[in-house]
Symmetry: D2
Subunit: 337 residues, 4 copies
């Protein structure tokens, strides 16, 4: 941690800051210049209340040097974390693909989609039973009935599934059915929910908030990890920017940035990122080329009848075509599919 | 609602779209040009699945004309909604001020602050007992003990208080103590929580999400209203932009925009918007000048010892000074304080 | 300047960094911790190539401590700069108002507007003769003819005027007519143009770029100042954000932030910031309440016939009404109009 | 074009709007609903002043249906435009790579880099002789001397080069040396400069502005095209967002979006987009996978000594390694390198 004193800060002010910091057991090394004095702080700076120091007389600015997360950091755990879901391994050499409808709408729709994505090579199913919708008047999901259809689809295809959980008290119910819990973008900083899934013994797919920095995202992962669950997978799904030609803006460089900062697996969701089915294919390819450990893709047998997110859903044949082009890209960077 | 057909869309494609729409009881008026055909749709377009229409062959784009919220709209309720909290009225001619610490830290801190802001003219208290913090290692609030100190402060000063509720199952507990429930920025689209406070019989202060559009914000208000609670107050608290010299960017024009779109009261929180105590005073004044119905301001007796948000907290004497400058601004636009 | 070494950086790597920095005459104070080593750099760090240091082996991060601008900084010049244009003083106690049409369209339109805004109390005229338009097919301004009408309006009303200059070679022509040169938002980082107006002996109104941070904006001011022209006025006119209900988002807190960082006057343009005439009034008031030294407001006698920016232009009677409400707000913060 | 009338607009108001529009020769089809009246406008709507209509009594909103650019649109020219520079073809099946230093610093640096990137397989050189720098105190480029070194590098390697031109009056000088003119991000809406290069007979590399929408970008291309130069190449180089872990955010989906909207070639600059050399490789691959026609990459023999943008420059050996991984990705989507 670093403290920059104001021009003209008095020696007494500098002394007061040093004293306050050293109370925590940290050591301070002052660099006294003609114009500015800089204090380098060494030790366990978590004990220092940075905001307090910033308000002391004579202090211009404070800067954190250490990252605010620990368990999620690459430094804490240099080896890539591998997450197993049935016989699927996420975070290893093999690139995985989770596919399925945005919302589970019926038994038939779920089974038809599941068989189609299985045939095309998907490694997991996805589908929403509880749907967060910005309008109270939109379809809110089938609830537990949806979970039952997902379980049936798993039984028929052998593919494990991920589904969203929206509130702490629903974690037990959803965990009973699902193989992996999804925290949606709008809940990335729902700390009560992060706490609850942190106590579940189950992999968690943590989607990035529309408005969240990579650091905040890793802090949310830290919440889950710090409550004892270290099976966290990060999923980039587009951030909000000024550009309106896509639903969101896929932050493709988040993939290699995360690979440097954390040991957790990183996936890309090109469907939510772009919001348009005809942009899913090129961005899915870009995700694999950038080094993502997997993709989450929305597939619907009849997108024009979908109750949610139809415009961004691929038809099964489109999805199959996309799947055939990915292995060559994975191979180009030394990975398999 | 409007449907724009692609150049070269066939008459059969146009016909199919019209048929599908008219199944819902809406009427379609086609405008056939040499290059483009536009379909004007009249009637209750909520019955039309826009996303489905957008995916039909020959369709270029669809555009909604009606606003997606109803109960929250000025058109639905042209008269300003007045919300009463004890003897405070929010949304009327008088500009209100809610003040207090970011977090309730102790009995003494809460009482000292409450007496100070009361003396300076505040109309309500604020203070967090349950704190959403981006780090799992930060102070998370005193919980129910904090609510008790808030209640004590109310008893001693006569000022009602607002405090945040973070999860659906805590609504009963918090409602037992508080005069108004706050939904924090990070929970603006926590739909389970919106549903829960929608069933409470209590005013709700709905803060704007950091990266939420005004329309999404009104949709969140609609969630609460549609579950039976029409005592919703909107609070602008800064949005996330590329600018880093302030914590967030106060969207001051949101105040008059909301005054056009909705009948609900609108407040401004200059503390969270700027993140710096020395910017609170000018932006608080700007809020009143722009027509806000009130302000939410963080005050702490010793900001340099605050466990949360110290840098943006005013000392009581600064708060008192601010309060003396506001009535003249309110009077300049025909309001009182 | 501060250099943070990587965990595990070798003493030789630390030494190499220190050596490279000390070649420039700066002094380095190392703070060696168990995990991290921090180097505090004191002296004239402008001589240090930060980017180079950042690429040296063992270096984790570098951080600038000093601000990158000097002449524009409050520290360099603690006294507010006053800028005189004829008998108007900008930056003093009196809040000024520049008003007029977006584009000069005709002799009649310009004169009619000029007389109207003069009667309502405006202190300067504004109007565009050369118009930057995002479409090559839009009206591009009357050119020199427009300058002549502006000069005529000045003659008839006694009000000096500001007008935009779009390219370096036009500076002489525009300077011949105008009392103040405007650099438009899209040209804020047109460095050739900044250089050219830096050599003019004339006040410059430097609008903030849609995408520019406050620091970049002050760097652009520094360009002008460093070429010898210290008559620079900053004008906040809205930044681009994700919100679409207004044309741009007025960054109201930029006003007090700039008042801390620089000695240059700061104005607010609520017309471009909001893009809608019915939002101009509340945001203009907010600008004065936040401490702006003046306002720039678009006025057109018949907005519905305007060739540019009609939707954000006030009719003269609306402008007059606005002008009557401002003095009380200015007075509330100890200023006059 | 569509006009939405306000609820309760009178028949006379509707009539007035129709009359005004029909004066331009367009035809209006009204859809009269119980609550809303929608007017569909057919014909050459460029003649209609939308802003004017928007201000008429009873009008709620107007919406453009047609795109505001024509020459740049895919509809105007369905075939991909191929641009030839010496024997390089841009926009065809072969993916091209332009590489070189951010700034030309010396004869030796330029030649060394040129030979290295040629050996690694680059198809063109890049290098800045005139540098737009946000600080007046930074290295501003060698000027014409830099152009001479670029020409020498071309002579020695046979690779044509692109270099930036910053002001209209420099177009003749730069054109004398360069094979392609670059318009930098900060000049994307420098309309005088767009006009000037529109009259040059030379390919233009038009970089996207940091905060420009895709539509605005295509409007800037339209400026160049409308002045007679149809050799325009678009280059995505990252946009400004709230995320700070990268210099900018690479908008990877802009590539397929542009492929739908325009016939012009599209390139990606991963160096400026990320600002960090170790993110260039994965994002360059993503660019090719997403369908870009080429890449622009910064290479410097000794990045730690670079006078500009060292942190984002690849060393020649890194660049060579990147080049070996790209052909397989190109091949995976049916392209060559």
């Amino acid at each position: 941690m670093i403290v920059v004193m104001k021009k003209g800060a008095s020696p007494m002010q500098v002394e007061a800051v040093i004293e306050r910091i050293e109370l925590t057991g940290c050591k301070v090394h002052p660099s006294v210049g003609e114009e500015t004095t800089i204090l380098g702080v060494i030790g366990d700076v978590r004990a220092v209340n940075i905001a307090q120091i910033q308000l002391m007389d004579g202090v211009d600015r404070t800067m954190r040097v250490a990252r605010p997360y620990k368990l999620a950091s690459r430094e804490f755990n240099p080896t890539d974390t591998l997450i197993r879901v049935s016989d699927v391994v996420i975070g290893g050499n093999k690139v995985v693909v989770m596919a399925g409808p945005c919302a589970v709408e019926s038994r038939e729709q779920m089974l038809e989609t599941a068989h189609a994505v299985k045939a095309a090579g998907a490694t997991m199913l996805r589908g929403g039973a509880f749907k967060p919708r910005s309008s109270p008047y939109s379809f809110q999901g089938l609830g537990e009935e949806g979970l039952q259809y997902l379980a049936l689809a798993r039984e028929e295809t052998g593919l494990p599934f991920v589904t969203e959980v929206m509130e702490p008290q629903m974690v037990p119910l959803v965990s009973q059915y699902a193989d992996m819990l999804q925290i949606g973008a709008r809940n990335m900083q729902n700390f009560a929910l992060l706490h609850a899934v942190g106590e579940a013994h189950m992999p968690v797919l943590l989607k990035r908030g529309l408005m969240s920095t990579i650091e905040e995202w890793l802090m949310s992962a830290e919440y889950i990890l710090s409550h004892g669950n270290n099976q966290v997978i990060l999923c980039e799904r587009g951030i909000r920017t000024f550009e309106t030609s896509t639903r969101n803006t896929l932050d493709i460089s988040a993939v290699p940035v995360l690979k440097q900062l954390t040991h957790l697996p990183v996936m890309v969701d090109p469907s939510h990122a772009t919001g348009k089915w005809d942009l899913v294919e090129p961005t899915a390819r870009a995700g694999v080329a950038a080094g993502a450990d997997g993709l989450v893709i929305e597939v619907h047998p009849r997108p024009e009848e979908a109750l949610s997110d139809g415009p961004q859903s691929l038809k099964p044949e489109r999805f199959a075509a996309l799947m055939t082009s990915l292995p060559a890209i994975a191979a180009a960077i030394g990975r398999s599919m």
